[in-house]
């Protein structure tokens, strides 16, 4: 079995894998990074979107061996020291999710978009997320969330968030 070495969210991960192992299964089942979702498993829905060397890709449509030597960013790699990434903050502030299934892929597509187009028009946002299906929101709040992040500016380090989603969720449920 080929030996692979992939830098995932800044950490070098080495493994021996079958060539037919898809990147999404490597991330979820071997690295236990389950933030990357499998929606359709047929290259359509974008729930499995990650960044490979800075560009968005559907991780169900690339073999893990192909990513060897690359840098992969998943949703787990966006927040820094408990501070949400501006896009995560945008989704939080603008109610950009309901069930949350599409959210990790949606956010990584938005990272890809804002890198090339820091001040996108609404049309550019809609085209930028055309490869990501959401079955809950109707997309409008997702567009608002991305606009929120674009206003804040992506390149700068995210400001330290007042509270992380976990802390906020725990506050919302009375700490249960």
């Amino acid at each position: 079995m080929p030996q692979i070495s992939i830098t995932v969210n800044g950490k070098v991960r080495k493994a021996r894998v079958e060539p037919r192992l898809l990147l999404v299964h490597f991330l979820r089942e071997q690295l236990l990074l389950t933030g990357t979702h499998v929606g359709c498993d047929t290259s359509q829905c974008g729930a499995c979107t990650v960044l490979i060397d800075g560009r968005s890709a559907k991780s169900c449509t690339i073999f893990a061996v192909q990513a060897s030597g690359s840098k992969v960013t998943t949703i787990e790699g966006l927040a820094t020291d408990g501070a949400l990434h501006p896009l995560q903050e945008g989704f939080w502030e603008e109610h950009g999710l309901q069930c949350g299934y599409c959210t990790p892929g949606m956010i990584l597509s938005a990272v890809n978009l804002l890198k090339d187009t820091p001040r996108p028009t609404e049309r550019q946002i809609r085209e930028g997320i055309a490869g990501n299906f959401c079955r809950c929101t109707g997309y409008q709040h997702i567009v608002n969330a991305i606009q929120h992040a674009a206003k804040k500016g992506l390149p700068k380090r995210a400001k330290r968030a007042r509270r992380t989603p976990k802390a906020a969720a725990s506050a919302a449920t009375g700490g249960r």
């Binding site: 080929p2 079958e18 060539p19 037919r20 192992l21 898809l22 498993d41 047929t42 290259s43 974008g46 979107t49 560009r55 968005s56 890709a57 559907k58 169900c60 449509t61 690339i62 073999f63 061996v65 192909q66 597509s109 890809n112 978009l113 809609r126 085209e127 930028g128 997320i129 055309a130 490869g131 990501n132």
Partner: protein
């Protein structure tokens, strides 16, 4: 979903890749962007025993101008074309096709050469590039040969490529000025394959008459088609200004005999385009519906191509 087992190779040169193909022949497949091959392997429509991943072959990367041709390396992604200012300026028809193909993630990985090799009847690159002077460079055990795109694709999902051959680049002639081209596509949902698509590439002479025109149809036959009789009708003729073409002939309100004559000619061209279409019925539409679309999309593409030939920067209309 797991594809069937295979052995994986990642050659560093074209020669190494060709050796692998020679050794494994019919049981081997080239892996480029993987955006058509992986979905087929996961559904086990394709089960190659050997995969030759060409992504590590540096000589296949990049997009460059060589004299009056644009050379598209076999690893050039749809997104590379969409980001190229050379393409945007000189070959807007390709810029349209790049931006209308699939979605962002697929465009980041899928390649132009892979699309041609895959030869999907509804593929965007085959239809758009057929309107240009496009040559496919093929490397094989007997050396290198080039073939015009129109001969390269022989049937649905079928090309001239032999089992031990591969595409190394695709080159496109940069048309002389003044020229304009456009590719329009009708899709049922964002990022989907075309229900139908039309490409138009026009060159004008010093009287702003049509020196040459190519009209291509996508998803309207087993392979992309040229609407030859419509092309012949328009060649050499005076043309309406683009913006007045998009509507139907009756709302273009011709204000001179010349415009009246060319409006009529255009209606006839549209009919010939519909006749040239040879669609099949599927979940995307009936034969009659797709034939009708061919005419509508022709008018839209023609209008934008003509506007661009007159130096105006216009976007193709999204449906």
């Amino acid at each position: 979903m797991y594809p069937a087992e295979f052995e994986y190779f990642s050659p560093a040169t074209v020669n190494e890749a060709l050796d692998l193909l020679a050794r494994h022949g019919d049981d081997a497949k080239i892996l480029a962007g993987g955006q058509s091959l992986l979905p087929m392997m996961k559904l086990r429509i394709a089960s190659p025993r050997y995969l030759v991943d060409v992504n590590g072959i540096e000589a296949l990367a990049g997009l460059r101008r060589e004299g009056d041709r644009l050379v598209i390396g076999a690893l050039c992604r749809h997104a590379d074309i969409a980001a190229s200012s050379l393409v945007r300026e000189h070959l807007p028809i390709m810029w349209d096709a790049a931006n209308l193909t699939a979605d962002v993630q697929v465009r980041n990985r899928g390649t132009v050469a892979g699309s041609l090799a895959h030869a999907d009847p509804a593929g965007d690159w085959p239809a758009a590039l057929l309107a240009l002077d496009t040559m496919v460079t093929i490397a094989g055990p007997d050396g290198i040969r080039t073939t015009p795109l129109g001969e390269f694709i022989v049937d649905a999902y079928t090309t001239q490529l032999g089992a031990s051959e591969m595409v190394t680049d695709v080159s496109v002639g940069i048309p002389p000025e003044p020229n304009g081209g456009a590719y329009v596509k009708f899709e049922k949902r964002a990022g989907d394959f075309a229900v139908a698509s039309v490409g138009v590439q026009i060159e004008l002479d010093e009287h702003e008459h049509c020196r040459s025109v190519a009209i291509t149809l996508g998803a309207l036959g087993p392979t992309p088609l040229r609407a030859g009789s419509a092309e012949a009708l328009l060649r050499g003729s005076a043309l309406l200004r683009g913006s007045s073409v998009a509507g139907s002939a009756s709302d273009s309100a011709p204000d001179s005999a010349l415009n009246g004559a060319s409006a009529e000619r255009l209606v006839e061209a549209e009919r010939l385009v519909r006749d040239a279409a040879d669609p099949f019925a599927d979940t995307r539409g009936s034969v009659a519906y797709k034939r009708h679309l061919a005419g509508v999309l022709f008018r839209r593409a023609f209008a934008v191509a003509l506007d661009r030939a007159h130096g105006r920067t216009v976007a193709t209309l999204h449906p």
